[in-house]
């Protein structure tokens, strides 16, 4: 049951990474980065269910917080005003 879910999530990450490689502007790449980090943050929660280990929930929370900070920092950098 969970194997198919992992296959679908991996396909989603792959498609988003294709947009990150193709994207014509830097904003496309940031959008793709935001999408990939959200998808992987929910993949870590499913991994906690797969391994029956609740430490992955903490990893998912910290990953979501750090990816939010990274996206905000890159977006502020792209504005060009610091």
């Amino acid at each position: 049951m969970l194997n198919y879910i992992f296959i679908i999530i991996s396909a989603a990450v792959l498609i988003a990474v294709i947009r990150m490689l193709k994207g014509p502007t830097p904003a496309d790449r940031i959008v793709s980065l935001d999408t990939v980090t959200t998808i992987i943050s929910s993949l870590l929660v499913v991994l906690a269910l797969f391994f029956k280990n609740h430490i992955y929930l903490d990893i998912s929370f910290v990953f979501a917080a750090l990816s939010f900070t990274g996206v905000i920092v890159i977006a502020r950098y792209l504005e060009g005003r610091g």
């Binding site: 999530i9 904003a27 935001d34 999408t35 929910s42 906690a48 609740h54 996206v71 502020r76 005003r81």
Partner: protein, 120 residues
């Protein structure tokens, strides 16, 4: 108890489907702003559904998964708004299909060419 378990697995599957559709919309849309719609809204719903579903399968973890879900629900629109503002301020053009651009008319063309960024 078995009903809540099955409902949790159904929520996980639906959320995974929404995550895949969001990534597919990221590949298919014509413009940065349309990609932002697809890649943020659908992904937020999918992540929320998946995380709540895991919390319903393993009932002991429900509080922690609820905290993660509320955190993603709060921070994902902020990131989306910051990306859209940065894309518009760095003069990325709107695609011809979605040609209405009130932001350009009202704010960016009001006075001068380069000092107008300090308006907002």
């Amino acid at each position: 108890m078995i009903i809540i378990n099955t409902l949790g697995y159904i929520l996980i599957f639906l959320g995974t489907l929404f995550l895949f559709l969001g990534a597919l919309g990221l590949l298919r849309m014509p413009d940065v702003y349309n990609r932002l719609q697809a890649g943020t809204k659908a992904t937020t719903l999918g992540a929320l559904s998946t995380i709540i579903g895991v919390g319903m399968v393993e009932t002991d973890w429900f509080l922690k998964t609820l905290i993660i879900a509320i955190f993603i629900l709060m921070t994902n629109p902020i990131g989306s708004h910051a990306i859209a503002r940065a894309a518009r301020l760095s003069r990325i053009a709107v695609d011809k299909i979605t040609a209405q651009d009130k932001y350009q008319e009202n704010y960016l063309n009001k006075k001068g060419s380069d000092q107008n960024a300090s308006n907002f």
